[in-house]
Symmetry: C2
Subunit: 419 residues, 2 copies
């Protein structure tokens, strides 16, 4: 029984804003922003609030062994649900939107369907996954990784924070070590609405990003060992300057990104010199190189170019350079049908929409290998995220949530998987 044409449905932006602001009270920081680290007291408060909302909206709520919270709205038929998911944990100085938007927009979609009396063929599930940020416990995307079986539950429960407290202990302490089996719901498809966390949409003047996938990530740490000496008495030709080698590698990293072009990015975010004195040639330097590309072959090319730079620099500067891989993820490609669906719905709704990759990791990437998966991006003001100044205008949030709702409704009428 459909009382309203679902294609005219809009989410209630006032309702969404109210939920965002109320959830923002759990772990609120002086001066704005939120600290809601995974499994903290603030996280418990946010979880209680979100599960309360789920139940108030009539959803069937399950909590699994890793604390993932999934609320399901029944469909007309007993089919695999369309899942909307993200997370409500934050970094230590987080904003109101990262993660929260994806969960609360899901709830607001349920509210809109309830209010309009819309029945969908398939169930709709709204999921909040544990510890997406990885700010307190490693690895990040923990809950969605356990849900999809790419992280073993025992390893996840044993992960400890800096104080030695484990995920399992902290889940039990806050009452969210639930009875459900992780992955007990196999979704028909998966959607995530998220703030971009970058400047691309704003800079290009677009409202919606139809996310094509997640960049592959290659993190290396290089420890450079040279010889410490007096900055005045050591001729240039006799130096083995670890600091200089670090600077050369950092400049070359930028060159590699320029040579490869496209989506390739390269960042040297850590550079520490020892002893770090104005008049002493550094004996030791530690730098990190973060390389990302949406194309695995190009990412490997960047890694090979970087390795060659490191070899050449070590030989020329007569220093020893030891590399250590800190992280490596292959790029994730989202389902072309899902990308097209998001794009076409946004365009039909009169939104300026662009296909774009995600530079950051998201829960959605854990679902991509298992079911048709797509993401909707809305702009981040100034590209700022993981920061209390994170901001997206309400109209932009509405646009994203409306596109998400229409995409969900379209998929919820499918009788079998197609993409």
């Amino acid at each position: 029984m459909t009382l309203t044409n679902p294609h005219n449905l809009r989410i209630d932006i006032d309702g969404l804003m109210a939920r965002l602001m109320q959830l923002g009270q759990d772990g609120a920081l002086e001066g704005g922003g939120v600290c809601r680290l995974a499994l903290s007291d603030a996280d418990k408060a946010g979880r209680d609030r979100v599960t309360g909302w789920m139940r108030a909206l009539g959803l069937e709520v399950s909590i699994d062994h890793i604390g993932n919270m999934i609320g399901v709205r029944a469909g007309q038929e007993n089919l695999a649900p369309v899942m909307i998911g993200s997370h409500i944990d934050t970094v230590a100085t987080g904003g109101l939107y990262d993660g929260n938007l994806g969960v609360l927009a899901g709830l607001e979609i349920i509210a809109a369907l309830n209010a309009a009396g819309v029945q969908t063929r398939r169930p709709i599930a709204v999921a909040a996954f544990t510890n997406e940020e990885g700010a307190r416990f490693a690895p990040d995307m923990m809950g969605s990784a356990v849900d999809r079986g790419s992280l073993e539950i025992g390893a996840a429960l044993a992960a400890a924070d800096a104080d030695g407290l484990t995920v399992g202990e902290e889940l039990a302490r806050i009452g969210y070590r639930g009875p459900a089996e992780p992955g007990h719901i196999t979704p028909h498809c998966f959607f995530e609405l998220h703030v971009e966390q970058g400047p691309v949409l704003e800079e290009a003047g677009f409202e919606i990003g139809a996310v094509t996938g997640v960049q592959g990530i290659s993190w290396m740490e290089y420890v450079i060992e040279g010889v410490s000496n007096h900055a005045g008495t050591t001729p240039m030709r006799l130096r083995r300057d670890a600091g200089h080698a670090a600077a050369v590698i950092a400049v070359e990293a930028r060159q590699i990104a320029a040579k490869l072009g496209g989506d390739q990015v390269a960042t040297v975010g850590v550079c520490a010199l020892d002893p770090g004195l104005v008049n002493v040639i550094a004996r030791r330097a530690r730098i990190t190189v973060d390389l990302r590309n949406t194309d695995e072959a190009l990412l490997r090319r960047a890694e090979a170019m970087m390795a060659e730079v490191v070899r050449e620099t070590a030989a020329r500067e007569q220093v020893t350079i030891t590399g250590r891989r800190l992280a490596r993820f292959e790029p994730v490609a989202f389902d072309p049908g899902m990308i097209g669906l998001v794009h076409d719905i946004a365009a039909a709704d009169g939104r300026k929409v662009m296909r774009m990759p995600s530079g950051a990791g998201h829960d959605a990437q854990m679902f991509a290998p298992h079911c048709p998966t797509g993401m909707v991006f809305v702009p981040s003001k100034g590209g700022i995220s993981h920061n209390i100044r994170e901001h997206t205008d309400p109209e932009q949030l509405q646009a994203g949530a409306d596109v998400l709702m229409q995409a969900v409704l379209a998929k919820a009428e499918e009788t079998e998987a197609r993409s």
Copy 2:
């Protein structure tokens, strides 16, 4: 009355080594080396030892208001003395030779003259100046600067260490705030024997450096302000990366030294990124640039080139760079007559000797504007100094001390200043 031909005199290397080792017990570190920071308890012990040796050698000892210790051996005539001086304070992880050699070789020369019954026309003074290193109190070369009037005594006494203790308080505490007026002795000429603290003599296979002067020093700190952003989501063209700008400046500093050639050196010893995370573009970087040259005009040229690099980098990378001058000393030229004297005595003694500048600052430079001044360098193994592994072979120490003694004896016979 001369009992021995002074030209055949040699210092007693066993005596010099014994003094070096004994003084090395005051503030000795586990595993070798010394921590004898200025005006510490260890410095007091070293001072007591050195003034005890001065008195045992028959010297007239004076302690001035800044704690400089000067022992004078009378001459046949009441003329201005030939002064030998250096320091006995060390850095926190210092070696046995830096500074100490210059003072203790002076004492060993006195011992040799005493043993041989040599009377000189002019008095010979051996001075140990307070806080040459500047490792605890700024500025460095404090005692010699006060002695020669380039630093006001009140300012020196008020200088405080990291704990807020002042030079004046600490001098009084250890009993070395003496009654003599700083500068009460105006020397005929000044000599300092010192370890090179660099690799040049060893690398070239020379035994003695006839020091031509001290490099001019220009220290700048640059604080680079960019915009912190996500390393994955921020396209290269939209970055304002303070860390990248720092790396560019560090690489360009090396280029400036290469372009100017000669004695020009350039060092970036400090590079700190904020927030310093692998996946975050740095919002802020702090680096230092240490430029040195023996030629003031070339040093200014290097500074101008550096300033241009900073301007260009700020514009290209869209960052703000604020420079702050940390130190600036013009090059010091030693007296040509003194340089020639050291060179010729070493050559006549069969030593491989080269004229060379000092890359480090020394007490001698405070005397250069006021009286004929010269320095003798002996090799530093591996160019290592300010390090517990600082080492010079006993034969090399003997060679340097013998050259110093012959130069002192030559000057001590002069009836009036000439150079």
